[in-house]
Symmetry: C2
Subunit: 293 residues, 2 copies
Amino acid sequence: MQLIDGNAIAASIIEELTTEVSALPGKKPVIAVIRVGEDPASVSYVRKKQKTAERIGIGSRLHVLPEDISKEDLFAQIDALNADSDVSGILVQAPLPKHINETETFNRVNPAKDVDGFNTLNIGKLCQEDPSGFVACTPAGIVQLIQRSGIETNGKHVVVLGRSQIVGKPAALLMIQKACPGNATVTICHSRTTDLPSITRQADVLIAAIGRPNFVTEDMVKDEVNVIDVGINRVEDSNKKSGYRLVGDVDFDAVATKAAHITPVPGGVGPMTVAMLMHNTLLAFKASQASQA
Amino acid sequence: MQLIDGNAIAASIIEELTTEVSALPGKKPVIAVIRVGEDPASVSYVRKKQKTAERIGIGSRLHVLPEDISKEDLFAQIDALNADSDVSGILVQAPLPKHINETETFNRVNPAKDVDGFNTLNIGKLCQEDPSGFVACTPAGIVQLIQRSGIETNGKHVVVLGRSQIVGKPAALLMIQKACPGNATVTICHSRTTDLPSITRQADVLIAAIGRPNFVTEDMVKDEVNVIDVGINRVEDSNKKSGYRLVGDVDFDAVATKAAHITPVPGGVGPMTVAMLMHNTLLAFKASQASQA
């Protein structure tokens, strides 16, 4: 069994990006982050993104807006960043306050600066296999984990557990693309699926993204399966100071005994998302430089 | 075995649209069709679309442009129709001459008038399950055939054979939607799939769209399968005046003996596309009326 070390792979990508950014002759990429309110998780995620940007040499700007900001004022801030030629990528940190529609907000971001890949146009481009679009960071990270672990997908059966807009569907679309990784037979399962174990047991690659702790058990996979566990679930644990620990959607200890490759949780898909955000920011920068040349 | 009569189902839809359009109080929907060149198949398709529009009470306008038209002139025509508030829907008949990029052309059409559903934004909306978008006519027709034949998809296994942008992928996205029809476990197969029969034999619903005559044989399906055959292939037939006959991707005679429902070719999916084009045109008209109200 080979552990897929998401921390190590993310570190490699960050290293590569650092080299590439430092070799840029003039202007450097800049990511603008909008955070609405003071949600502690959002504060922590945004800080992590800024620190990683700084490490790579990508400029970062933080715009903190009040929790009760109007949609109009938020959109005015997005419009200003859309118009600012120094800004390569824009990230609006989710979740947003309930009075603001997230889809509408993500669609306000200029698609060419949508480094989060949540804009409807970029989702359409993913479906059309148009490489000028941005792929959302979690599914893009999954592809990198697969590729850099040498897992073959060509002609293989990839089973995606979960049909969410931000993970399940884009991961499935990436796996059927005429690309490498890709070219897989892809099955998408979800809560309505009848006899799920009979489907998951067919998986050469299993991407689990249903948000149910330890849901995938040993009997649900075949020998030599490759497992990408996207779940991050809190379960009570009185041995921990916090009172909980994080587990994936896969019963790691049992499934690992059968797997060829498997991601741990934490330390699998999680660390990849920030790395892919930086990757997208550099892509956005290069595309804007090319279009100005 | 129940034959799915695409002609009859399309006729019902056209009937329903006729009733709805005749009840509209003032202005009626209008579809504008752009045909570039004199390709005989295109001439015939466009005539069919206009005749159906006329029957329903939808106005139609035909713009015939020369084969050697420049991209700029074609786009100027599209822009004029985009700006014309009398025009509800715009269809640019494919194929276009080789010097004009089809994706770019389809994306020039205002997404709100893109009744063909080929615009990248509408493809993104399909992926996001946003009902304000337009679904391409062939996959939308497949959904109608399934729904109006009483075929259950909820929790069932739908196998899509083919991963094209215009049929396979959108059909798969429609079948995993949280909708009825929808809520299916969906597998997408293609030319790279290993041991295809083991996959297709799992299908409760099989959507065949690979463009290979009589490719799906009896041993590749299970009893009581529901078959939607999207293929339209010419095979030589010296008994026909034309020298050929049309067959689907499914070996109809043999598979029909096992199937619960099956579409014939011709007379299955084919007749549905024009009906769904008219459906989309009425939707576009109603949305534009609502936005002006």
